[in-house]
Amino acid sequence: MFSDYSMGELGAIFAMQGFAGLILFSVFVLMALGLAIIFGQMGVINMAHGEFMILGAYVTYLTSNFFSAYIPALFGMYFFVAMALAFLASGALGLFVEWAMIRHLYKRPLDTLLATWGLSLILQQIYRSVFGAREVGVTIPDWMIGSLPVTDMIEVPINGIFVMVLAVGISMAVYYMMFRSVWGRQVRAINQNRVMAGAVGINTEWTDRLTFGIGCGVAGVAGSAFTMIGSTGPTAGQLYIVDTFLVVVFGGAASLLGTIASAFSISQAQSIMEFFLSGSMAKVLTLLTVVGILMLRPQGLFALKLRK
């Protein structure tokens, strides 16, 4: 396979392939972070996660249309506004859904799963009615298109760098919120002992709602970022759902670090296998490996061993 190429060429390809793995890693991290917050801290399975992402994507689409129609001069900057709006829109929907639905189901995780699946169907149909069945094309600012030539042969896609920076930024923000902010302390306290947390004056109801909202908001930002690399359509959210859940479960549900480590290992495995095998088989093998490891180690990669 490699005999026809010079070392330089091979080196460049492998460098770019490594970079492709990192982009995939960032995509996984963005997909999974919101879910990891919700699943890890609240034990809620949100099957509508993909639809919250797509809401962010549609918000981005609307923002780009608004900018190109009214303030074309600032078009290059619209993406940042769009991400903030995506966070707010998906987050607000998350708050509402928590209030209307999730809070009644905390003791029944499997039922949450079904109810949120129902929610995902409803959201899909709403998107279809509002935006049409077709995918919408989101115009990306010029500066985000194309690639940076690092050397003669190595080129790095700009949107890939953007996704990576965003993944790092959001991970840090989430980490900060979880471990440095008052909200984070409260969330962790509730996660450990709900009754006690309530007894010492933490408003558990509001903290739950906020947690769900923030998780959904992060999903919205991810969806916004994915307009650069994927499609925006009513059913596009479904494409992400299996991967996302496996990343979170594989990482060990309660651990943010685990989620990131799991995103890293799955993305690298998939990216390497995709390079050496045909696409479909790579996907099947990746999924089988993940499931196989989960069978050997059901608590995931990074679950703490706890006294029962």
Partner: protein, 249 residues
């Protein structure tokens, strides 16, 4: 190491378990004789419940040995340990709330424990008679057809004890059997326990000293996963180490 000794029903030797480096039980050894009622006491976090979890297989030990009548329990599955003759009651009453008292007891009846045994299990007269008998022992013969969910807290505790009795274990382990009971219930329970510990060995975890005095043959005091003191109630109560860490407070 673990040679069987006919003088002891249970020999725990060098038992250790660590959770991420924290040794909840540390090189613990103790021995239980036939028909003995051993009470384990100790401050919160001393590792009392963990010891029971280790013996019945709920938690896997890091090292050590638990020998029950010549069998090494540490390599066995929970259900195999039960079949060997060890019964365990949990701290919070765990009964099947959706089933009736009768069904709760029936499921603990030591027959039909395999998949196909359970499919073909018949509720014959022998089973019914045995359940009736146990129900009388645990003061629940009038509630046989009631769902367990509707029992009082104390009654649930009794039901769980009944579920263990019907198995007729040689070693019975009880985790705080009188916790959360009213004074009257507590008295009745002590009476019940005194009756059922006659022909078997029992390990009890309990905080209530009056109650301990009532039933204990010997007492083991645990502190930070280790034995602090062991012996009769009187001896333990007068041990200065014990007074310092536990009774003195």
């Amino acid at each position: 190491m673990s040679t069987s000794n006919p003088n002891f029903v249970l020999m725990v030797e060098g038992l250790t378990v660590s959770f991420d480096g924290f040794k909840a039980v540390n090189d613990l050894s103790f021995y239980v004789e036939p028909n003995e009622c051993r009470v384990i006491i100790g401050p919160n976090g001393a590792g009392k419940t963990t010891v029971l979890d280790l013996i019945c297989g709920r938690t896997k030990a890091t090292s050590g040995s638990v020998n029950f009548k010549g069998q090494e329990l540490l390599n066995m599955r929970e259900d195999q340990i039960v079949h060997a003759g060890v019964g365990r009651k949990f701290q919070t009453p765990s009964v099947y709330e959706d089933l009736t008292v009768f069904e709760n007891l029936e499921l603990s009846y030591p027959k039909g424990h395999g998949v196909f045994g359970a499919l073909t299990f018949r509720r014959d007269d022998q089973v019914k008679a045995r359940i009736k008998e146990i129900a009388e022992t645990i003061f629940l013969d009038d509630q046989l057809d009631e769902k367990a969910a509707y029992l009082s807290h104390g009654q649930k505790q009794w039901l769980e004890i009944g579920m263990l009795l019907i198995q007729d274990p040689e070693l019975l382990m009880l985790d705080e059997p009188v916790a959360g009971m009213s004074v009257a219930e507590r008295k009745k329970t002590a009476e019940l326990l005194n009756r059922i510990i006659q022909d078997r060995s029992v390990i009890v975890i309990e905080h209530d000293m009056g109650f301990v005095e009532d039933i204990a043959t010997r007492v083991t005091v645990l502190h930070q996963g280790k034995t602090l003191s062991e012996g009769s109630m009187e001896r333990v109560q007068n041990d200065p180490k014990v007074i310092e860490v536990y009774l003195g407070h």
